[in-house]
């Protein structure tokens, strides 16, 4: 279906001539409805499939010796990591496309139509690649593989990127996390009152930065509070039932917040298109507010977990002492 949309997109891209009132142009215009409907479906499908993918990875971990959560299943066939990454990227990209489409619809002269279909053509192979990766992942799974799980990947002692993130000291990363959020919130508020382009770019860059900080924070300290175990840094376990599925709202608010936070900067140039000017500022405000709302819920959720976790006492001590050395001793005491 996406292929069909892509084909239609190519035709539109090549033959689009808004000045013509030929029947052919009219039929092209009508096809744009079909394309945007299909893309709506594709995006919906992609969002659901990220969820399904993670859940399936979660569900099949019992097939693999050594796997205890989705990390283990993904490790069983490293293509899985790529597939997950591509799914998240496509989710964002499809969302961006829909926003582009929405903006295009606001103008009376189809201001973004060529850009829109050019982007669609880029998006199309990505979606195919994603399907291919997913297929590769599931077909390449072999139950005989003994995999390592989050315990080893996200352990604080290790050479990989993941373990170095996990090894970030909790205290400083909390400071960075909250500073990042305050900065972001302040820029958002400024952005609501001043419509300066540089503020928009700053805002979007901060959103992207905050995304990275947040993902690192999830691994480095948020996870600890969720599991109430200072050595457990897995970002996947928290979507399990044992932790009352807390990961879903956590990731959902973060992703939404970042997505809407990115929009003002990315579409800054669109605001100067004459036929869009009238509505653009209003929409931008909505984005800013929505993004701020999502981010705030994300941070509040995090703070709630930090404050009401049974780990509190211990970690306050640890933050005060700035010492991560005794982390090694605790697992023996807290092991289930």
């Amino acid at each position: 279906m996406t292929l069909y949309a892509g084909l239609l997109g190519t035709v539109v891209l090549l033959r689009w001539d808004f000045q013509s009132s030929s029947a052919y142009q009219l039929s092209l215009e009508r096809k744009t409805y079909l394309i945007s409907t299909i893309m709506n479906y594709v995006l919906g499908f992609q969002i659901l499939s990220v969820f399904l993918f993670v859940y399936t990875a979660e569900d099949i971990h019992q097939l693999f010796v050594g796997a205890m959560c989705a990390t283990g299943s993904l490790n069983a066939n490293p293509v899985g990591w790529l597939a997950l990454l591509s799914k998240i990227i496509i989710c964002f990209a499809a969302g961006l496309w829909l926003v582009l489409n929405y903006l295009d619809h606001l103008g009376e002269d189809f201001p973004l139509v060529r850009l829109k279909y050019a982007v669609l053509l880029v998006l199309l192979p990505c979606i195919c690649a994603d399907l291919y990766l997913q297929l590769q992942y599931f077909l390449g799974l072999d139950p005989d593989i003994i995999t390592s799980c989050c315990g080893s990947l996200f352990s604080t002692s290790g050479g990989s990127v993941a373990s170095s993130i996990a090894g970030l000291p909790a205290g400083p990363s909390m400071v960075v996390f909250y500073t990042g959020f305050v900065l972001y919130a302040v820029t958002s508020l400024f952005g609501l009152f001043w419509e300066k382009a540089f503020l928009r770019y700053l805002h979007s860059s901060l959103a992207a930065l905050f995304f990275i900080i947040s993902m690192a924070s999830v691994v480095s300290f948020i996870s600890m509070y969720v599991y109430e175990l200072p050595t457990h840094h897995c970002p996947f376990d928290m979507i399990q039932k044992e932790y009352s599925f807390i990961g879903y709202p956590l990731y959902a608010t973060l992703f939404c917040g970042v997505f809407f936070g990115l929009l003002p900067g990315i579409f800054q140039r669109a605001g100067s298109i004459p036929s869009l000017q009238r509505n653009f500022r209003k929409i931008e405000r909505t984005w800013l507010l929505f993004s701020l709302g999502c981010m705030t819920s994300f941070v509040m959720l995090t703070t709630y977990m930090v404050l009401f976790s049974n780990l509190t006492y211990f970690s306050v001590l640890k933050v005060l002492a700035g010492n991560t050395a005794n982390e090694r001793i605790i697992p023996c005491l807290l092991q289930h």
């Binding site: 279906m1 009508r30 409805y33 079909l34 945007s36 409907t37 299909i38 479906y41 499908f45 659901l48 399904l52 859940y55 569900d59 099949i60 097939l63 010796v65 599931f138 139950p143």
Partner: protein, 385 residues
């Protein structure tokens, strides 16, 4: 938002107005969902039963084979296995099957040392002496007895033996204990006429799960005529039976089937002239193409959701209330072993979510193009008659 609520409302009325067509689609779709739901629920609950069965299985089972067939194992093998490093408790197990000619059912007869912690949820107590037994709910039902009652079985020398029932298993998962008769070890040896010093197999506890393979290899080397079966191998075997991947294939196949059915249906019926005119009217009086598309989308969602709910409920009833009477004959093996074939209701949100995804999505997707074809109806077609 309000706009979409109103469109949904309109979609509902238009489904109700085209009662015959809607009913036909919904019932056809419901049948497909029911079939899919039954298969998924059935295999899933079998998987769960198997998993709970396995949870109580020993780490390592050692059998003896002779001529490639299962043979009784000398009990002194147990002592030899115990000497291997990393091995914990080693127990000789006595068990077998009993065919009850009166009821025509097969029972599993299991010997016990008095403390199998796996067989909890017992009403009453486990047998302590030779004349006592504990039985599964299915056995109790079939033989019309209960705690404090009596059970007469015919032993290997064709003599009736009277046992007093000291307990009945009321396990959540009746698959585990349904056909079970538990006797004391001494009683079972006499009952089956097992030669002295021989057991059915040996259950071995291994402390460290990672050493399981090594221990199994050592057992094989030490006792060449033995066959060690690790729990992971059992898991694997069960997974062969209820292979998740084949389940997935099945689901994909099912989804394709649905899409095909819908497509065929759509080809067969198409949009009636009436419907076409209605869309024309809507467009003429101020509905946009995207709104007509939204209308068609919601119509699709309503139909798919209704069928999904009906189908899932029907599938659930079929499997758990009517004991899978349509599927059971297909997997006859199970129904022979288990006289009272009754699965424990088990609700897995993931399963329902997957089922929903696999049924609703293809339906709604397959309606996109027909819906679009209707939606682009030129508003002035109705003016030109």
């Amino acid at each position: 938002m309000i706009k979409h609520l109103k469109i949904i409302d309109y979609a509902l009325t238009s489904i109700l107005r085209r009662r015959n067509k809607s009913l036909a689609i919904i019932s056809a779709f419901t049948v497909v969902v029911t079939a899919l739901a039954s298969i998924l629920l059935f295999s899933n609950s079998l998987k769960k039963e198997a998993a709970s069965l396995l949870a109580s299985a020993p780490d390592l089972i050692v059998q003896r084979t002779m001529g490639g067939r299962h043979e009784l194992i000398p009990t002194d093998y147990a002592a030899q296995i115990r000497k291997i490093h990393g091995v914990g408790e080693v127990n000789a197990r006595y068990w077998g099957y009993y065919y009850d000619a009166l009821t025509g059912a097969n029972f599993t007869v299991l010997g016990t040392e008095g403390n199998p912690e796996t067989l909890q949820l017992l009403e009453g107590r486990l047998p302590a002496g030779e004349g006592e037994c504990a039985i599964g709910a299915g056995v109790a039902n079939l033989k019309n007895t209960g705690t404090g009652g009596e059970l007469i079985l015919v032993d290997s020398s064709n003599t009736g033996v009277l046992y007093e029932v000291t307990g009945v298993f009321r396990a959540d998962s009746s698959l585990l204990t349904n056909d079970l008769i538990v006797l004391s070890n001494d009683a079972i040896k006499g009952f089956f006429g097992l030669p002295p010093g021989k057991a059915t197999d040996v259950a071995v506890q291994v402390f460290n799960e990672n050493e399981l393979q090594t221990v199994a290899a050592k057992v094989k080397r030490l006792l060449p005529d033995s066959r060690p079966i690790t729990r992971t191998e059992l898991v694997r075997t069960y997974d062969m039976v209820f292979n998740w991947r084949s389940g997935m294939m099945l689901s994909v196949f099912g989804a394709a089937l649905i899409a095909f059915c819908i497509l065929a249906w759509d080809k067969a019926t198409g949009i009636s002239a009436d419907e076409k005119q209605e869309i024309g009217i809507l467009k003429a009086i101020g509905w946009d193409t995207s709104e007509v598309l939204a209308l068609k989308f919601w119509e699709g969602v309503i139909i798919a959701l209704t069928s999904y709910l009906l189908g899932t409920i029907a599938g659930y009833l079929h499997i758990f209330v009517f004991n899978a009477f349509l599927l059971a004959p297909v997997i006859k093996g199970w129904s022979v072993v288990f006289p009272d074939f009754h699965l424990t209701p088990h609700l897995d949100p993931y399963l329902f979510f997957t089922l929903g995804f696999l049924t609703i999505a293809p339906y709604v997707a397959s309606t996109v193009i027909p819906a679009w074809k209707t939606a682009i109806t030129d508003p002035d077609t109705i003016m030109r008659g």
